[in-house]
């Protein structure tokens, strides 16, 4: 029993790490720009597809393809902000949300045109499995978990220690005061979108290597990402990290001990219960 619980926790950690990365991107965009970037999942999957393309069709080594895809992700994020969201910045927040929905359809459609309807898996050649007592961990899963942790730490350092990071935080906390302090509020959204999309692409690569990228997978992930935000608290970094980990492990435990058919329902019910008890989320600030 204990071994099974431990094994299920480890099973849930990898997907939890993916959730954390997706949610960090969403929460940054939301905290700073107030946009529910619904297209985030599909855009992130484009980066995963790109990595697949670079590795399989162009013969690039994986370690070269990843930085290229991350850079492309950054640019894609900048483009999305400029072309789709900037025109509706000052309109009702509903409009930005609807632009996000339209964008999701477009990106899903473009992914389908370029990469087809069959699932793709990024080849890594990493097939070893580590065993510890009764617990098994495939090496790829371990690397995904480690990479997720490294990315989260890097992101924290960026936001806490660099000038740009501090400016982003200033805008998030008080936009008007930030303008008064001389923060350039025109470039901040671009950087935020670029960074968030790069993080999303990292998640897309992890999904593509560990599982698979296929039509609809991105949309599923973004819904989970928002669930994480609601769990942890919109706009809260620690909330996204805690929420993502909790959701990943909850799903795994729910599938293993309660019902595999209803595991998503259980995850959403947990989210709704948290909302009823703490509307601002686990680590969100009270309004």
């Amino acid at each position: 029993m204990l071994i099974e619980i431990l094994q299920q926790t480890i099973n849930g950690l990898a997907i939890g790490g993916v959730y954390v990365l997706i949610a960090l991107g969403l929460t940054t965009v939301f905290g700073i720009l107030g946009i529910a970037h619904f297209a985030h999942g599909s855009v992130s999957m484009s980066g995963g597809y790109l990595t697949y393309f670079l590795v399989t069709a162009q013969g690039l080594p994986l370690l070269a393809a990843i930085p290229a895809a991350l850079a492309a992700g950054f640019l894609l994020g900048v483009l999305v902000e400029m072309l789709a969201y900037r025109p509706v910045r000052h309109a009702n927040h509903i409009n930005a949300f609807i632009v996000a929905l339209g964008l999701t359809m477009m990106v899903e459609g473009i992914n389908l045109q370029l990469f087809g309807h069959e699932q793709v898996v990024i080849p890594t050649g990493l097939n070893r499995v580590f065993r510890l007592g009764g617990i098994t961990v495939p090496e790829l899963r371990l690397y995904v978990i480690i990479a997720a942790i490294l990315l989260v730490v890097a992101m924290m350092i960026f936001v806490e220690r660099t000038k740009t990071g501090q400016a982003i935080r200033a805008v998030a906390e008080n936009r008007d005061a930030a303008i008064l302090m001389g923060v350039n509020v025109k470039t901040i959204p671009l950087i935020v979108f670029g960074m968030s999309t790069a993080l999303g692409v990292a998640a897309g690569i992890m999904v593509g290597a560990l599982f698979a990228i296929a039509p609809g997978i991105g949309e599923g992930l973004v819904v989970k990402g928002f669930a994480v935000l609601i769990l942890g608290g919109l706009g809260s970094f620690p909330g996204a990290i805690l929420g993502g980990t909790v959701l990943g492990i909850t799903e795994s435990i729910a599938a293993g001990f309660i019902s595999s058919g209803y595991k998503d329902v259980i995850a959403f019910v947990v989210m709704i219960i948290v909302l009823l008890i703490r509307p601002q989320g686990l680590l969100g600030r009270a309004p």
Binding site: M105, M106, G109, Q113, F226
Partner: protein, 315 residues
């Protein structure tokens, strides 16, 4: 705009719609028109919460599903007469809407959208897995159709119901409740500040919008004769949102026009084959950026410019 004037286009539209079965030589278009009329009902409901109250709900198709399954199961398992099952559908849906509306409406803006979306996902998962009752993904066939499946007769049923519910939506919009809903959309804190319990009105809008969807779903079930969970997924909820936005949020004519668009547009885009999704998304993005007030809004401001009067924006 004067009421006497705004009445005319409605009358004209009704006359054309009433003659439509005679005007359409190809029954395929009649089939699509019936679907569009059902979507008018669904979209008018969506407009109450999205257009007037300013809360984007992403569970409209899920509520359609509850109405559709409710009505289909009552007629197949308990042999209720058709009028009774269709009348029960909005009631059943209202119960679910009360249950889901309470937690959803504790939060605002994007939170609300995501929570309702989660509810739509939950509804579909339950419809798929609770197969003892719903027959799962395989779906329910042989749902009774009224008048021996006559499409002309069903068309008039849908037309009468869609017109009546559009009128009801107009009445709600012009009542005190409608004014408060509009005030909530513009500034919810202010509404609370003057001592109005905004949550009651929001819950009212949410439940009524769900009842519209439930009725629309029941009509769909008895028109098509077949339902499965796929039909009531998030993609269809997005169609309801799209109908409201394209037509004109917060107007009465808007959702009606938008409903016809979301049914006919994908069929007209069949020529685009696999580019359909991209084109559809592009239309949505461009429409929101360049005509956020919808077709009705544009028509109004154009009309106003022509007659030299100030335009009234639908928001």
């Amino acid at each position: 705009m004067k009421r006497s004037l705004s009445f005319l286009p409605w009358l004209l539209a009704l006359i054309v719609l009433a003659m439509l079965p005679e005007l359409l030589p190809v029954k395929y278009y009649l089939h699509l028109s019936i679907l569009a009329l059902i979507w008018v009902i669904v979209a008018q409901g969506q407009n109450l919460i999205q257009g007037f109250t300013g809360y984007v709900s992403i569970v409209q198709a899920g509520f359609m599903g509850i109405g559709a399954y409710g009505s289909a199961l009552l007629s197949l398992n308990l042999q209720w007469p058709l009028w009774a099952t269709v009348a029960m559908a909005p009631v059943i849906t209202a119960l679910f809407a009360l249950l889901t509306g309470y937690p959803s409406l504790r939060v605002k803006g994007h939170y609300f959208a995501i929570v309702t979306l989660a509810f739509n996902l939950i509804i579909v998962i339950v419809l798929v897995h609770y197969s003892e009752l719903t027959k799962g993904e395989a779906g329910i066939s042989n749902i009774p159709k009224p008048w021996g499946g006559s499409r002309e007769a069903f068309y008039y049923l849908a037309l009468v119901l869609a017109s009546a519910l559009t009128l009801l939506a107009a009445l709600i919009a012009r009542s005190r409740v409608g004014e408060i809903l509009l005030a909530i959309r513009q500034n919810e804190d202010l509404v609370a500040a003057v001592g109005i319990a905004a949550w009651k009105y929001k819950l009212f809008a949410f439940v009524v919008s769900a009842m519209y969807a439930g009725l629309g779903g029941a009509l769909y079930a008895h028109f098509q004769g077949f339902i499965n969970p796929e039909i009531f997924g998030v993609a269809q909820s997005l169609d309801a949102i799209l109908a409201v936005i394209l037509g004109g949020a917060g107007t009465i004519a808007g959702p009606a026009i938008g409903a016809f668009l979301v049914v006919f547009l994908p069929e007209l885009l069949r020529f685009a084959d696999s580019f359909r999704l991209i084109l559809y998304g592009l239309i949505l993005v461009l429409a929101t950026i360049f005509m956020p007030i919808g077709i009705v809004g544009i028509a109004r401001s154009g009309f106003a410019r022509m007659t030299g009067r100030g335009g009234q924006h639908g928001g």
